[in-house]
Structure formats: structure tokens, C-alpha cells
Point group: C2
Chain length 256, copies 2
């Protein structure tokens, strides 16, 4: 077999965003990622792969070739979302007021958590197959502990506050993610406020005001309705075996 004649060899570590892809392939890859984000956000990361493919207006094969396992897809899809978190983290660390920084950070993360079901799963459960996650997490954890320590030193967190209370809080908020985002979001805010008031080192004798309580009554609760993903553009009737909106393809004769 002749060695590859043209094209520079794929440098190691390019597995992330393979630049050595034909133009159309790269386009499709992007399209799949976008579709995945949408579908996962609405239906959770357990949504059928075919739904993602459908939405991307792409065959399943294409999807599987680019992302051999579900978790590869999930990882790739939420990569930048996690990057945003990392940025928020940086900002929190840089904030001269550690308490304020921490609060802002958590509010940001919680907002995403409660808005995007896919992200919620990824963030909370992680995908063990995605190796970097663990590393990233460990690092994050360390820096988090530092942030907490700083806030505590500044007298903004009670003495018995534990860094592990942050995951506790996140887990609690993620419990709200089962609600539709428009109730979950105010609910999360209110919960956060309650908790932060409790985290104070020296609570004022009259606690601060609360954001409004969402109409969140148990009898109205449903299993998250697996929102069918408001059809993006076209309005063709759904067909085929699994439900979901149909693709709109920017006019391109493909296939046999």
C-alpha cells in the first residue's frame, strides 16, 4: 500500500475537530452536532439516534461513522456548553468578591442545568466513556474548593459550609429540571436564594426578599412531556417510524 501521497498526515490529537474532512463531510458533522444539541435539549440524551439523524437530514450511517457511540456524540455536542461553564468559572475566580463570584457562577450553571435536559444529564451523570470529563471534573473540583475557601475566609460563608455542598446544591437544582423550563427556571432561582441565605455566615435578622414562587403544584406534575421539539423551519407532516419533525434540507440532491 502506498503511503498517503497528498494531504498532510493527521496530526495526533486532531480527533477532537478533524480538519482533514472533505468539505461536505465537515458540513454534515456540524449539522449533526447542531441537531444533537436540539434533540438532546428537548428530549434528553436518551433520545433515539435516528431522531438526531432525521433532524440533521442525514442518514444514520453518517451519524454513526462520525460518532461511533452515543457518548461520543453527547460529549462532542456539549463540549462548548461545558467550555462556557469553564469560562464562568474563570470569571468567578477572578471576581474580587468571592461570595458574589460564587453566587453568580452557580446561578449561571443552574440556569443552563434547568433549561437544557441534555446538559443536565451530561453535567450530573457524566459519560464515563468520555475520559477528559473526569480529569476536567477533578480540576474543577479543586478550583471550586479554593473558591469556597476564599469566600469562607472572607466571612461570606458559614464555617461549617463544605465544598461538597456545591454538588449537593447542583443535584438539588437538577431535580427541578424535570419541570418545563418556564417553571423550572424561577423555581431554581427561588431555591438558590433560599440556600444562599442559609449559606451566609452572619444571617441578617430579617432575611432578604425572595424571587417569586412559581406555580409548581405536585398534582400538575407530569413526566417531562418529551417535547417534540418545535419544528425549526418546514412544516411537513411527520412520517416514518419515530416521531419528530422532518428535516429541511437546503436543496441538495444526495443519495442513490
Amino acid at each position: 500500500m502506498p503511503d498517503q501521497t497528498s494531504h498532510n498526515p493527521p496530526e495526533p490529537g486532531t480527533a477532537e475537530a478533524p480538519a482533514e474532512l472533505r468539505a461536505d463531510a465537515r458540513r454534515n458533522r456540524e449539522r449533526v452536532l447542531e441537531a444533537a444539541r436540539e434533540v438532546f435539549a428537548a428530549r434528553g440524551v436518551d433520545a433515539p439516534m435516528s431522531a438526531v439523524a432525521r433532524r440533521a437530514a442525514v442518514g444514520v450511517a453518517t451519524l454513526y461513522r462520525r460518532f461511533p457511540t452515543r457518548s461520543a456524540l453527547v460529549t462532542a455536542a456539549f463540549e462548548d456548553q461545558l467550555a462556557v461553564c469553564a469560562t464562568a468559572f474563570e470569571e468567578a475566580m477572578a471576581d474580587p468578591d468571592p461570595g458574589h463570584g460564587l453566587y453568580t457562577l452557580l446561578e449561571k450553571v443552574c440556569t443552563t442545568l434547568v433549561t437544557d435536559r441534555g446538559f443536565e444529564t451530561v453535567f450530573m451523570a457524566g459519560f464515563p466513556e468520555a475520559l477528559d470529563y473526569d480529569r476536567e471534573r477533578a480540576c474543577a473540583e479543586e478550583r471550586l474548593a479554593h473558591l469556597v475557601q476564599r469566600a469562607r475566609d472572607a466571612g461570606q460563608l458559614r464555617e461549617d459550609f463544605d465544598p461538597a455542598d456545591i454538588p449537593l446544591l447542583l443535584l438539588a437544582v437538577s431535580g427541578l429540571a424535570a419541570q418545563p423550563p418556564d417553571t423550572a427556571l424561577p423555581a431554581a432561582r427561588r431555591l438558590l436564594t433560599y440556600l444562599f441565605q442559609s449559606f451566609q455566615a452572619h444571617p441578617p435578622s430579617r432575611p432578604g426578599p425572595l424571587p417569586p414562587a412559581p406555580a409548581l403544584d405536585l398534582s400538575g406534575l407530569h413526566r417531562p412531556p418529551a417535547a417534540p421539539l418545535a419544528a425549526a423551519t418546514a412544516g411537513e407532516a411527520a412520517a416514518g417510524t419515530d416521531r419528530g419533525p422532518r428535516p429541511r434540507r437546503p436543496a441538495r440532491s444526495a443519495g442513490r
Copy 2:
């Protein structure tokens, strides 16, 4: 077809706990319920019906005849668990100290919530098909509001506390249910304490002590491992299509 000759006709409303069942049938029904509780607790209410049947050492047909739909089974399986809640409710209402009553009630409910995955689903999401649930819920909600009102009047809850904060709290705690029970339980306790301190009308300048923080770090989180249900008695190797322990039958020649 001749009308039923013997046996008194089934009085209406007997659908709940049919006494007009042959002895063996009643036995089996009970066995199925027990199996369902175990399986649902460990694997969640979405566990395959065949797993329940297997554990009950009963054919699927038996299960389906007795409980035509999944939610019928779920409803029946958690009936008494819900009754326990109702009792706790009564106790809370009867408690001369409304704040204490409320706290005790919530701690009880949260404990169950966090210990039993099946109950968590049922309690939070309800099974819309189970009509009584809604009724029961509405009633519960009303009494809950009353309990809250009483505590607030007694100066034990802050003015801006809303009855809807109870579902909020429950939802939050249910977020912890994704953890294995032995971490989830202390986590729930700590979360509850934080929240209750925040609910106080007149927080002391030095907040009360917290229960210990569980080692709950994000990097170690897994999707609940769908615990394979510690085999109850016998130890035969699993076989057949779906995993799970094999039944132990108290020696009884049945079937072909």
C-alpha cells in the same frame, strides 16, 4: 353464554382489593405486588414487566391479568406506601407544634423519596391514569396549605414562605434520588436542614448545626447503576432474555 351461576357477583368498587379471588390467585397477586415493590425500588418504575413477573416467580400472563397496565401495577404497589405518607400527614396536622410537625413530615417523606426510586417517580410524576391520585393530591395540597398557614401564624415560618415551596423542596430532594441511597440520605438531611434554617421567620444570629456532608463529589457521579436487586434467597444463575435474579418458589407444582 350462561350467566355466572355460582359465586356472588362482584360488588362494584371491589376493584381495589378483590376478595373474590381464588386462594392461589390472591397469593400470587400478593407475590406480584411484593416483587413489583422490590424491582421498582431498585430499578425504577420503568423496569420491564417481565422482570417483575420473574421475581414473583409467575408468568407474565398472570401479572397482566391482575394488573392490565403498568400504572395499575405501580399504583397498587405503592398504595400502602402512600398510605404511610397520609398517616404522617395526619400526625403532622395533629402536632401541637406546627413547625415541628411540618419538619418531621417532610423528613419522613424525603427519606422515602430518596430511598425508593419507584416511590420517587410515583410521588413526583404521578401516574395520570390513576385517577384517585389527582383527587388525593388535591386534598393533600389543601391540607398542606393549612399546615403551612398554621406554622406561619405561629411565627415559625417567614412571611414570604409559600405553600408551593413544599413541592419545590420535594422536587429538589428528588434530585438527590439519583444517588445511591447511602449517600442520598445524608445529603437529603443536610439539604433539608439548610432549607429549614432559611425558612425560619427569625433566624438566630448563629445558625444551628448541620448534619454531616456526604462525600458527594461530581466526578464520582454515575447514572444510578440500576442495582440488580440483591438476590433474595436462591442463587441460580440468571438466564433468559432480561437480567435480574431468578425466582425462588416455595415448592409448588404449577403449570404444564
